[in-house]
Each structure stands twice: as C-alpha cells, then as structure tokens.
Symmetry: C2
Subunit: 215 residues, 2 copies
Amino acid sequence: MPDDLPRTDVTRLAGKQRHDRTELDGLLDSARVCHVGLVVDDGPLVVPTAFARDGDRFLLHGSTGSPWMRAAAGGAPLSVAVTALDGIVVARSAFESSLHYRSAVLFGTASVVPPEQRVAALDRLTDALIPGRAREVRPSTARELAATLVLAMPIARWSLKVSDGWPEDEDVDVAGDAWAGVVPLRETAGDPRPAPDLRSGISLPPSVRDLTGPA
Amino acid sequence: MPDDLPRTDVTRLAGKQRHDRTELDGLLDSARVCHVGLVVDDGPLVVPTAFARDGDRFLLHGSTGSPWMRAAAGGAPLSVAVTALDGIVVARSAFESSLHYRSAVLFGTASVVPPEQRVAALDRLTDALIPGRAREVRPSTARELAATLVLAMPIARWSLKVSDGWPEDEDVDVAGDAWAGVVPLRETAGDPRPAPDLRSGISLPPSVRDLTGPA
C-alpha cells in the first residue's frame, strides 16, 4: 500500500490495522456483498451489491440501466467497503462492548471491462456468488451480455481493520461481578429449497451441495 | 416518504420497492451494522459502524476523535445503508442468479444528541448490540461519556428494497436440465466464550444467554 495516500491510513484504533494483502484477499474472497459509496448530484450514495475479486481487480456488475453503475463506469471516484462480522464482544461496561469484525475499505475508480474479458469476468462474479456454478449453467446470451455492465477497479488503495481480541476492560471492572467474553457469529446456509417450477428428476448440483455442506 | 425526494425512488427493479415503515423498522431493528457514506475532501468514504433505531431517529456513536464522526456531526450529508442477506437465488442461468436481501438506504444529516439525552441514547445503542445488556452493566463514567460522540439522524428520507422471490427463469431454461431454487442464509451465534480474565463464579447473564438461544 503506497504511503502517499492518506485516506488509507486508519485514523482510529490503529492497532487494528493490517497491511497483509493475503488477509485482505481472504476477506474479499469470503464476503458476498460490498457497499459502494459514490458522490451523486450534491451528496453521497451507498449501494449494496455483489462483487468478485479477480487477482488485483475488484469486479462489479449490474444493469446498463443502473444510474450508479453508469456513474461508476464514467469514472466517478469510489469507496467500497467489505465487512464481515465475526462476533460480539461482551465487555463488563457498555463503553468497551463492541464487535469482532474484518473491515476493508478500497478507494479508486472503475473502468468498463473490455468485451473480450467480459465472459470470464462474469464467470468470476457467478462463482463468487455460488462457487463452481459458472460451469454448470448455459453460457450467457448476447442479449444478457448486452444488458450487463461489468466494471473493474484496481485493488491498489485500501485499508484493512481486524478486531478479534478479548474485551479490554479496566482493572476495576475486571474485579467486579459482570460477565465478559465473546459470542461468535457466523453465516450459515440452510437446506436448499427447490423452485416451485423445478422439473422432477433434477438433482441438486455440486455447487449448491457445497454451499450447504460442512463449513 | 415525501414525493419530492427523487433519490429515495428506486430506479431499478421497482417491483422490489417497499413503502411500509414497519418493514423498514423490522430491518433496522434486526441488523447489527450499517454502512455510512459521506463526502470527505474530494471523494466518497464508506464506513461500517454499529447503530440503533430510537423511534424516528437513527443513532450512531463513535469516538470524539473520529474524523468521519466529526464530519457527520458538522452536518455533512449522509447516505446510510442497512443490508440483510437472506438467501442465495440459484437460477438456471448466471444472469438470473442473485440474492435474497432486505436493503434500506437512508438519507439525511445528523446532529449531536443533546447532553440530557445522551445516556438514554447510549443505552439504546448498547441494547441494539446486545439486547438487555444496558441494565446489566454499570453506568458510563463521565470520562467515557466525554470521549463518545452520539449522533441522531431523522428517519425521514429512505428507500427499502426486498428481494424474496423464486428464480425468474425464462421458459426455455425452465424446460432445461438445470436446478433452480433458493439457499436460505442466516446469521447464527455460537457458544459464548468467557474472557481469559473472567473471575470464577460469574455466570452467563440473561442478555448473552438470549443471544445464543433459539432464534
């Protein structure tokens, strides 16, 4: 991470900042949704959307009719947050109670993925949503491709904060009667529900089995 | 929701837009984290943070030393996203594959909660993180209160989108061999882990038991 980019320096809780690109990639590869911030008209707009990491590129896609995607395609500066909640830190005081999280914020501008890279980029996006699914479904049609805008932002300016410690209560509170600890949180997938119009005799594909298998 | 606020109109997938304030409150009361967007220097910044709903107010808190909190306290326009992921929509094509979600975006400016309301607002924030916890812990100290900035934004300009349907595949795909359905997602809490410095004989408080009880 270059040193001349002040907004990627964590200003608060600097002890939680991480500089390891591997750790960033681990978060990006495990999260399903990001929050894209951009400036529209005279104010900020935050939009949740699916994404994928493709090496050093952060991929986004959406409808060609989406105003925020068009603004992003036009080079609007972006701030993109990817957040994972890992637990609740139950301290002995309200003040020290908090969350376990991994939080990345990326900055940059996106550009439209060139036509010859579009199919591969969309496959990455599909597999980020449902790993292994791209190879199980038919190729996108020309009409589908024409309706979809695929953008890529370089993963170059970013900050990463990780909170994974125990409550940091003061001695006077530790000596008191309040409980303290951590309650882990995780996302779990339930049993797949077949669509009402699913034809009989079609079995669960490996990609969907893997979503719900042992974590 | 007033009619003269164009940014609260959903421009894409208008069929997913909801106007029910009860549905908005249900999302805000169940989510643990929001993403606050604001404009700093010349660009956008997105910050994940805990929050609480207090009636018609959206409460935020943070350190008095936090640059983005200070900007927000100074009246910077905010866009705040609250997002819940409820499932993965596995369609018969990549194009129709998507997510089940509830997504709120609020717009407005925040102001500093006046001193006489600060303790109650912080209790709301504590109970949003760990329901019932505020009454179990000692009151905040003067030093803790002095270090904490509490902001409130009116819940007045907002949009809500809900995706909860089955895959919308075209007839030709429904007639094919691909599986389709929905894989539900939910957040689950694991067994509480006591802090290493927890004194012996202190039992799990009701608030923490309730976090991990039957959903």
